[in-house]
Symmetry: C2
Subunit: 569 residues, 2 copies
Amino acid sequence: MRYSQLLIPTLKEAPSDAEVISHKLMVRAGMIRQLASGIYSILPLGLRVLRKVEQIIREEMNAIGGQEVFLPSIQPAELWQESGRWDFYGKELLRIIDRHDRKFCYGPTHEEVITDIVRREVRSYRQLPLVLYQIQTKFRDEVRPRFGVMRGREFTMKDAYSFHASEQDVQKTYEDMKTAYNNVFKRCGLDFKMVEADSGTIGGSFSHEFMVLASSGEDAVVFCDACGYASNLEKAGARPPANGTGSDGSEPLAEVSTPGQKTIEAVTTFLKVPPQKLVKTLILENEKGLVAGLVRGDRQLNPVKLKNLIDCEWLHPASEESIKEQTGLPVGYVGPVNLPLPVFADHEVAAMQDFVTGANKTDAHFTGVQFGRDLQVEQVGDLRTVEEGDPCPHCDGGTYQIRRGIEVGHIFILGTKYSTAMKAGFLDENGKEKTLVMGCYGIGVGRTAAAAIEQNHDDKGIVWPAPLAPFQVVILPTNYSDEKVKDAADTAYRRLTELGVEVLLDDRSDRLGVKFKDAELIGFPLQLVIGPKNLEQGEIEVKTRRTGESANHPFPAILEKIPAQLSEL
Amino acid sequence: MRYSQLLIPTLKEAPSDAEVISHKLMVRAGMIRQLASGIYSILPLGLRVLRKVEQIIREEMNAIGGQEVFLPSIQPAELWQESGRWDFYGKELLRIIDRHDRKFCYGPTHEEVITDIVRREVRSYRQLPLVLYQIQTKFRDEVRPRFGVMRGREFTMKDAYSFHASEQDVQKTYEDMKTAYNNVFKRCGLDFKMVEADSGTIGGSFSHEFMVLASSGEDAVVFCDACGYASNLEKAGARPPANGTGSDGSEPLAEVSTPGQKTIEAVTTFLKVPPQKLVKTLILENEKGLVAGLVRGDRQLNPVKLKNLIDCEWLHPASEESIKEQTGLPVGYVGPVNLPLPVFADHEVAAMQDFVTGANKTDAHFTGVQFGRDLQVEQVGDLRTVEEGDPCPHCDGGTYQIRRGIEVGHIFILGTKYSTAMKAGFLDENGKEKTLVMGCYGIGVGRTAAAAIEQNHDDKGIVWPAPLAPFQVVILPTNYSDEKVKDAADTAYRRLTELGVEVLLDDRSDRLGVKFKDAELIGFPLQLVIGPKNLEQGEIEVKTRRTGESANHPFPAILEKIPAQLSEL
């Protein structure tokens, strides 16, 4: 392809709303343009990159027996009402009314549509397992879209759904998906981790996320430096303490006056005790009412862990009003002693003695509180958010590391959540009606490309991993109107094309500095600089974008070696 | 691919709402399933076909310098207000309100979005011409969606847009597009015609449609049997009559009583004259008021021709109330003599003498009307709809044929309609600001596949042109559990795959009759039937779907000849 024929509107400045580097660089390199908040047009260079991600995904999905389909973006409300998500999904679901006043939505995901197809077309266990996938546009009406295509409203996603006769069978496909996803991100040239995740609101029993490690990532990735266990922050398990906090539990329960001391910091300073001697009491609300969660004063309560321990449908922090109304307790002084609510305690709290808590009375705390003696709890469990350096619960001697990551893929075992709600069944070997077991598996296409940039860039621009580069090689003639230079550039272009290399010939009449800057900004893995002086020596210059290394090589012989060089990048 | 692993839900019966054969067969062959009115899920076999159409289009677009982009489906109202189409488009435009109460639409086309991008990114004549295209989902909220994917609401379209410094330059790209479109439909194996078309409501000066000939087509295609001129019905020009109707114009104008005779049929019977002796007077309405159009009694007025002759923004038949209110004339007895409206006459009328018309009086007609003597008109022009057998105006001796066709592509020269409205300009060689000249070019992807079926089917099912077939070859083992048959089938599958043939192995345990029926229904171009008896003779059977011819061939030697056989289909 010739540069002069392509629309590559590079920019010196990033748009003012661009916060992360991938957003800045995708706009500056002329890959994308914003049409409206969270809605982007993909320009030629950007599309070349997305298509590469898509093709890699397609090949890996096909390799595990996935069948590609293409499901509508506009979905009837009835299906979402059947699954129960029409009301549940809230404002993120873009609701639409057609000319006949029928209700639809722009699909943010396709569980309902695919389950509807399968319940109509699949009758027998002999048609199972079935793995269907698509690469399709989704819409999620985020409150605050940001980060360019990383968290857009309209975006391209690969979503796959699998249908099975049994839990064992979905496990098998789940393992295949793990392999396929690992292959996809490896082939994209990314440094990533597969981490355990909570299955969250999508439902289901088991889930893993694929996280590209990058300091700009919105998520925290926890992993053990010894055994390799990895998880996202909300799912990462804490090792229960081997023993207590060193106190002997000899202190008596005593009420102390703590006027105006409502926070952990205030109380520890006022009472001159370390936060490790305090127990934090957090009041949350779920569909059954209020509950209390206890963690050590220097820890964070992990609401996902508490939700899973309680096994409730939803759980969020209770408002001050709600607490006052339902219990009459003074916020800031709540504690577990004689608390008229179900109390759940973190393992660490259960090992504590002689600790401080609120006295359920304004301006008062208890000291010398003894777990067991002074308070009873509903259940003890792993309730805290882990921290860097925590001992790994999965091996001996390993400790947790925490890095930032960008979620590019997520796989779930859904179980029968959707198939039960939508009555999707099949006949087993004995002719008995059974409920289909499902899995679902997503990859953000644009997000994968953006994550690749977050992980591969420098101050000059993007440094594409070769498999995702819009072109693998750019030819930079120092002066394309010089006959000899032009001949050599054209020869290089032709020969590399014949060799199967995707090459862009910068045939523009712009100053060489402009062309170099654009080449660095866009981030082609290899630059071939062709100028009259080198040509006189029978050479051209080959520069590697990632290392910045450049060297002269005999021309045209070097062309034959380019494919091998690329495969090493 | 193995049949048992693919979701191909073939059906014996077509859905009751399916009117055309392509809709019936696409559903029966398990290619598509309806999700909602005019909204279809594309299943694996269907997607394979659509992807082939897309790939052919992509290659031909790239060959003429097209650059692929991917524009959002959700578009802000502001752009449509700028072009003036937000109000104009009516209910076919699916309007959407997001969570922040901003107005959007699901794009039925992308002139506004692409013009917005180009006006921001293109500054200089040196960046022109520019040809951008995408293959993207559109939504048009049709009142009565029908014919499956042929006239759906959500559908896939290739739309291209070109930007130019001059009218001459857009002409060049327009010619390139003609070539590309001809290549696309030829490569799809279709029998089609490129026809002149009116540019209609999309605006612009020049346009051609690509029509696949099929008796089920919604459109009429007119073409000359001698010179090859082709047009759609509304655009086809009529040759003006060489001379008059044989009357000498000697009759005097006379009013005759025609009580209750309001139609052409009634008047001709009542007065015992042929319809060729009558002149029909039709009253229409446009933005300036009422106008009258005259055609011979046996002809149809072509409103598109009249609109173009008048050069008005819109034109439609006036209602009886509107005629009565504005002129007081009795509908059924209106005529051109002393008519207080601008009158436009077809060429044939201008050559008539001694004719009959309404007398602008209830229950009365004039006879002996002379064109010129008794009535004056604003303008004479080509106003009638042509008919089969009409003389071709473009050559000597040729006559018009009329066939039914399905519009699969449409190309337009838009001129500056959108670029003027949206202020999309560039600087020319002299640094002067000028307005961009545009063209736009569409192909319906699903419609092309459906049209291929309309043209290629028999009572057993689809007869795919090889380039569009979901698989080119199906292997039909008579009994896949027979070891020798299985070995041969597997060998054939492996070898053909190696030879680059797309092959489906029907490994199902179903009865052979079921497998044969499915193979015929789906329409794979070649069937390889492998059974124990033939194998004993060292042979297999090769059957051509289109002709039904089958013959035994030595196995495995025949496999090597399959690619050549396919290229001839």
